[in-house]
């Protein structure tokens, strides 16, 4: 913006924005700090901010006691599997809608979006029953399939908006040069689409990682991911602040870092192109 701004005004903005920003971030910061305290220090009165004996003990205890690795593996497999499967199914669909649009393309896109609006609780029992019948209740396979299906509309939409930005002249030039459909997709389109595909993978991995309706309702001991692991701390006997904090920090840290890279894609992915 070309408007001149006084240094004073800029300093005021900076102070205010940092204050609010830190305030919003504080619960996360507090959790991270608490994870390095002993249980006694975690509930000290008055609360301790930085002046305490930093310890890694909680992390060791959480890993040891609760099979943390198992939950983590489940989260990675479920979020990663559902995202990759969704991408494989969505790429051809988004490609065809972006480059060979028909009169019905818009209707199909909107209809896909409408399946995303279906409230999960409305179909909870049928899915629960189908899972039992198919023997996939409390399995990672089952969750991969369900999370893939609930995120598929978002994946198709995001890829569609990215693909549409690729100039079709380039594809036509390739066709003129005698490229087959296969080589057109493989050698012309894919390299240009990789940034968009990567962004889509990132955002959907995050959404799947944090999903907490199906993961809580369709898992028990075997396939439970981190969302369910953390929920198990809500029972009274699990009330150890430092350990809860360590477990929480481990569950959110990787996704927080990924999330910071995906800020821009978030808008595109969650508003379905309605805000640019």
């Amino acid at each position: 913006m070309a408007r001149a701004v006084t240094t004073q005004r800029k300093a005021f903005n900076t102070l205010l924005a940092w204050g609010i920003g830190l305030g919003i971030f504080f619960p996360i910061l507090w959790t991270i700090l608490t994870s390095f305290k002993t249980e006694g220090q975690a509930i000290a009165d008055p609360p301790l901010f930085l002046m305490f004996d930093w310890t890694l003990e909680n992390y060791a205890v959480v890993q040891e006691r609760s099979d943390y690795m198992k939950f983590l593996t489940n989260s990675v497999v479920i979020a990663g599997g559902s995202t990759l499967l969704g991408i494989l199914i969505a790429i051809p669909a988004a490609w065809s809608m972006a480059f060979v649009p028909s009169k019905r393309t818009k209707d199909i896109l909107l209809w896909m979006l409408s399946t995303k609006m279906l409230p999960a609780v409305g179909v909870l029992y049928p899915i629960y029953l189908l899972f039992i019948e198919l023997g996939i209740l409390d399995t990672r396979t089952g969750l991969v399939v369900v999370l893939m299906l609930i995120n598929l509309p978002i994946i198709v939409w995001m890829l569609y908006t990215y693909f549409r930005e690729i100039p079709s002249e380039i594809l036509e030039a390739a066709r003129m040069d005698g490229a087959s459909l296969k080589s057109e997709i493989l050698y012309v389109l894919t390299p240009m689409a990789i940034p968009g595909i990567a962004s889509t993978i990132l955002l959907n991995f995050i959404l799947a990682w944090n999903e907490a309706f199906w993961t809580l309702n369709l898992t028990a001991a075997k396939a439970a991911p981190l969302t369910a692991f953390i929920a198990s701390y809500s029972s009274p006997e699990g009330l150890f602040y430092a350990k809860l904090s360590a477990a929480s920090t481990m569950a959110i840290a990787p996704i927080l870092i990924l999330g910071w890279f995906s800020q821009k894609q978030l808008v595109r992915g969650l508003t379905f192109g309605a805000v640019k």
């Binding site: 619960p27 279906l118 409230p119 809500s234």
Partner: protein, 288 residues
Amino acid sequence: MATQHSRSAARFMMAPAVVLLLGWMLVPLTMTLYFSFKKYLPLRGGDLGWVGFDNYVRFVSSSSFWPSVQTTLVIVGGVLAITLVLGTLLALLLDQPMWGQGIVRILVIAPFFVMPTVSALIWKNMFMDPNYGLFSYLWEFFGAEPIQWMSQASLTSIVIIVSWQWLPFATLILLTAIQSLDSEQLEASEMDGATTIKRFWHIILPHLSRAMTVVLLIQTIFLLSIFAEIFVTTGGAFGSKTLTYLIFQRVLESQNVGLGSAGGVYAIILANIVAIFLMRIVGKNLDK
């Protein structure tokens, strides 16, 4: 132009996604409809035959129904009001020139990436616990009696937690919209001597109205189905039972599938009413 060949190829490539989503939509939906007309108690006799619209009537006339509708409205309405107002103010602030803007953005956006079970537990235990929570220290510091957040102020607690999670989303989208505003128009109005407030009312707010509508609709759809935040905080006690949670309890906790399914159909209809408005906006944008 697309050839006949590429057209049929296109249809073929779209098929897996379309078929899967069609199945995902139709199969469970049909089953929910089917169950909703049955007396079906898996643990107490199973399928006890057709009952017509009995479940629909009973779901609505049960004593928990209206309170749950009220709770849902309070939570959805409260979170929407907070996130839209604060989100707009925050987006306006973040659009101003400042040092370290990128870092502030990162701090503000962070809560959105925290999984719902984690944010609910952090708030419940480390902030709102009446004995050891930070809020209780704060209240005591000012000489006030600590609040029993989960039992005395369960709805307020949930609204605070969920607003914290969704404020980043509203802020980010409104910020994106503000940044797309034509700066020449703003400069011109400034030269004409328009005050900051006038500029906000006559230029910025109208420009934001579409983005606000989108935030409102998308959030409503997600907020209508919040689950984990209630599951790990109050478990639906202390008047915090939303429509979604009531259906969950009917279906999985009391295993009254027929009754729960009828509730599910109501939830689907409700979500669809909101969705229609959202689709209209999105659809308009597709034509461009």
